[in-house]
């Protein structure tokens, strides 16, 4: 059930776009209004979410230390896994964000004839990496639609992405990778009992949505040819705030665009915000040198304590009887 509802939801989205364009002729709505709304929701939503996080302070310096601290000079400290300098933190964060360092540690815990064993488990890391990097590449490739003269680096990305030189048009590796990775992530979610148990509709929905986006994109590029020039015209008109919907763009494009718009608008309200959140995680982005540099808690307040004076008042006689010095005789 938790997977079925989101699946139906995505199907409904596809149908909405199809009927809207084919029957309702609402091309302007789907090509212009909805994308503009989606982008606005995304921008405002994303920023306000980050601001909300930012408003909550970091009262204590609580990095999860994954390596040796900096202490005595002859003990080699782990400059990245337990950084004591800002530079170390930057490297640690870069490894997290770009290479998913922590996920790379993943292990599989199993019980084998009464013994617990820990095996290496890199598939989640691999699929995650393939997914996110493909997504990024695909995004960069799309940039060519929004710009008059296509800059050289886009050509470079495209060249890299299609270096296998198969098919006409040339097959992009990231197209295959993203579909494969999303499929893997979905299968994993339903196949592994523990992961299935923790999964919510909100975990399936983005998977189906992204699958739909990638699949419709692939269909457009390799199978049902879309009027590329018209698409670019539309994209350029959107970014120059003079929206104009050209004739002759196939309905599949509208489906693609509608799913993308949905994803973008859904983003700030969902777990997809991990994209912004990962940079702000206090267990990763702080130095571990709390004894060297004092960390300030902005909401610190005085607390009720039991003073020495009160303590001595309670125990003065007992202290004196065994020769422990006291302040007041």
């Amino acid at each position: 059930m938790r997977a079925v509802i989101p699946f139906i939801a995505v199907l409904v989205l596809v149908l909405l776009a199809f009927i809207g364009v084919e029957v309702g002729k609402l091309n302007f709505l789907f090509a212009v209004v909805i994308p503009y709304v989606a982008i606005s929701v995304f921008t405002i939503g994303f920023i306000s979410r980050v601001v909300k996080w930012g408003k909550s302070p970091v009262p204590f310096r609580i990095p999860t230390t994954c390596g040796q601290q900096k202490s005595l000079p002859w003990i080699k400290d782990s400059k990245i896994e337990n950084p004591s300098s800002t530079f170390g933190v930057i490297v640690r964060m870069a490894l997290e964000v770009l290479l998913f360092r922590s996920l790379f540690r993943n292990l599989k815990t199993e019980m084998k004839s009464g013994k617990i064993v820990y095996g290496s488990e890199k598939y989640l890391w691999l699929a995650g990496l393939a997914f996110h990097w493909s997504f990024l590449f695909v995004l960069i490739r799309h940039y060519r639609f929004f710009i008059g003269k296509v800059p050289a680096f886009i050509g470079l990305v495209e060249g890299l992405d299609s270096f296998l030189q198969v098919g006409v048009p040339l097959l992009y590796i990231t197209d295959v990778a993203i579909l494969a990775a999303v499929t893997y992530l979905f299968i994993r979610r339903v196949y592994l009992p523990q992961v299935r148990y923790i999964s919510l509709p909100a975990d399936y929905f983005p998977l189906f949505l992204i699958f739909g986006i990638a699949a419709s994109g692939v269909l457009m590029r390799y199978f049902y040819k879309t009027h590329i020039v018209a698409v670019k015209e539309l994209a350029m008109s959107l970014v120059s705030f003079a929206p104009k919907v050209p004739e002759g763009i196939g309905v599949i494009f509208y489906i693609h665009l509608f799913l993308v718009s949905t994803l973008i608008a859904y983003f700030p309200f969902s777990k997809l915000m991990h994209m912004g959140g990962v940079f702000m995680s206090p267990t990763r982005n702080l130095t571990g040198n709390s004894r060297e540099k004092r960390h300030i808690n902005p909401w610190d307040y005085p607390v009720k304590v039991h003073t020495y004076e009160e303590y001595e008042n309670d125990f003065r006689d007992k202290m004196k009887s065994v020769g422990i010095p006291v302040e007041k005789e």
Binding site: M111, G114, G277, R284, I324
Partner: protein
């Protein structure tokens, strides 16, 4: 020992099933299984520290004697915490439920209970956050993973947030560093607003507040406990040691976890401290007021923790010492390292620690002004200032337990190993995935080391025991070394249960054994007053 009353180790292991039940977790209220939870806090102990809703109650009873508006109190509390802790706010929002943390928790590994998967433990809280603080949760309810705050939910919180030892192992593996320990801290703060503490935590907290230490040792008792150790040391070495208490003008204040004064094998560790400081002629003092380095307050609320650790700097100031050495303890060091200076600093009335023996300046502690005793000892050994005879530990084959707090909240990994290798000849590491930053909890941290929840402890300790068993079978290991007072108490029960031929020792016990003291007599017994193999005949 209470372990004898519970399920047998082999039965325990076969009872574990990692496959979650058919029924989804939101439809499965917590079932309170005997042996898996602690008794409720007593009225007098909550009153002692002015905690709300103090009353005698039992988690077994239907009626938890909650205030009328308990939901309101919790939601208000939740709002307050969200505004105060970025970690909390963020971790409520960004989990993708990838499950990487799921099988990393020792309680899940040892129980198979799906709600002990860190991600699900957090969902217990996140579902409430969503319901009351997000639009999607308000509108879509269950579909968005949200649910109402009912009495069942509250009981579930109590049950499962006292089945987390805040060990942070999950956080090592999470791609966003989501630390379930942070969630547990918040959850415990919240349920403490309703007086829902456990007896085993609230008792030590009250003691620590009023008497200076968890065990409630009064000044004269502290002195006599230590004198008792001194007698033993004299028996072993022929040397009479005379430490001082609450002495003004000493150079160094030494603060140990009070567990070391109370029960073996912690007491042997305390003997080690005493022998080392005496041998060096260190100008130091104990304090009966600041007689606890640990802090059970942290297992209830940040404020309580801050209240309990006030005495550290306050006593240093009163006595006019220059700096502080802290003893071997786990959560004590997470707090001293990551919290204490923030709570009660700046300690500008103290000086940057400088070892009077080696002249080493401990730059890494230049703000906080306290160092770990193992840092101090490692520096001594490195500089050749200690005469050591590691063969006195030759009857021991030692493996090393990294405590959660010092490993993942500090990064204290090499110093203890360096000292260990300096004082004993046979050292064997446990498997790589069970040590250092990936170390496994003893299963009884954060105040879960009571006796009524022994099954929980043995389940939580299973991964640790499993690794100990591995090195015992492979290398004949018979000693489990550590630097944590809770470990010395809890691992003792754990090895008794799973690997009875292995004992537990603090690091400074082994130091004390190996330490050649000026003017000592030929040693024939170790700090446990047991014969030293190969040395018996020499008397």
């Amino acid at each position: 020992m209470a372990t004898s009353k519970i399920i047998k180790p082999n039965e325990l292991v076969v009872s574990i099933d990692y496959k979650p039940p058919m029924k989804w977790w939101m439809d499965t209220p917590a079932e309170f299984k005997p042996g898996m939870y602690c008794w409720g806090a007593k009225k007098k102990n909550l009153d002692a520290v002015n905690f709300p809703n103090a009353r005698d109650w039992s988690p077994k009873e239907e009626d938890w004697k909650l205030p009328e508006n308990w939901q309101e109190i919790l939601i208000e509390g939740l709002k307050d915490k969200l505004g105060k802790y970025r970690s909390f706010r963020l971790f409520m929002d960004i989990c993708v439920r990838c499950g990487a943390c799921a099988d990393k928790c020792h309680f899940f590994i040892g129980s198979g209970d799906p709600k002990n998967m860190p991600v699900l433990r957090t969902e217990l809280m996140r579902s409430i956050y969503k319901r009351y603080f997000t639009n999607s949760g308000k509108a879509l309810g269950r579909l968005a993973g949200a649910r109402d705050l009912t009495l069942d939910v509250l009981k579930e919180w109590w049950y499962y947030f006292y089945q987390c030892t805040e060990c942070r192992r999950c956080s090592v593996f999470c791609p966003y560093g989501i630390d379930t320990a942070e969630i547990t801290l918040m959850a415990r703060e919240l349920i403490n607003l309703l007086g829902l503490n456990t007896d085993w935590i609230s008792g030590p907290v009250a003691n620590c507040y009023l008497k200076g230490n968890h065990l409630g040792l009064e000044p004269h008792t502290i002195k006599s406990s230590i004198e008792f150790f001194l007698d033993d040391i004299e028996t072993i070495t022929g040397i009479k040691i005379e430490p001082t208490f609450n002495r003004k003008g000493a150079e160094i204040l030494f603060i140990a976890p009070s567990g070391d004064l109370f029960a073996d094998p912690g007491t042997y560790t305390a003997m080690g401290y005493l022998m080392l400081f005496h041998e060096l002629g260190l100008d130091y003092t104990w304090s009966t007021y600041a007689s606890e380095g640990g802090n059970f307050g942290f297992f209830t609320s940040n404020e309580m923790a801050k209240r309990l650790h006030y005495k550290v700097y306050a006593e240093a100031k009163r006595l006019g010492v220059k700096w502080i050495i802290g003893g071997e303890c786990g959560h004590m060091w997470r707090l001293w390292h990551q919290y204490l200076d923030t709570w009660h600093g700046p300690a500008d009335f103290l000086e940057v620690p400088v070892s009077p023996i080696t002249g080493t300046r401990f730059e890494h502690a230049k703000s906080s002004k306290f160092i770990h005793i193992v840092e101090f000892t490692a520096d001594l050994i490195k500089n050749g200032k200690l005469k050591l005879d590691p063969t006195r530990n030759d009857h021991l084959k030692v493996t090393w337990h990294d405590s959660c707090n010092t490993s993942r909240g500090m990064g204290f990994l090499e110093e203890p190993r360096y000292v260990l290798k300096g004082v004993c000849n046979n050292f064997y590491e446990m498997p790589e995935n069970t040590i250092r930053e990936k170390t496994f909890c003893c299963g009884s941290g954060t105040g879960l080391n009571a006796s009524e929840n022994m099954e929980l402890r043995m389940r939580g300790g299973l991964p640790r025991a499993n690794a100990v068993k591995y090195v015992r079978d492979k290398y004949g290991v018979n000693m489990l070394g550590n630097i944590c007072a809770i470990d010395r108490a809890t691992l003792k029960a754990l090895v008794e249960y799973y690997t009875p031929d292995v004992s537990v020792a603090g690091l400074h016990e082994l130091v004390g054994n190996a330490l050649i003291m000026k003017g000592e007599k030929e040693r024939t017994i170790d700090l446990r007053l047991e014969p030293l193999p190969g040395k018996e005949g020499k008397e």
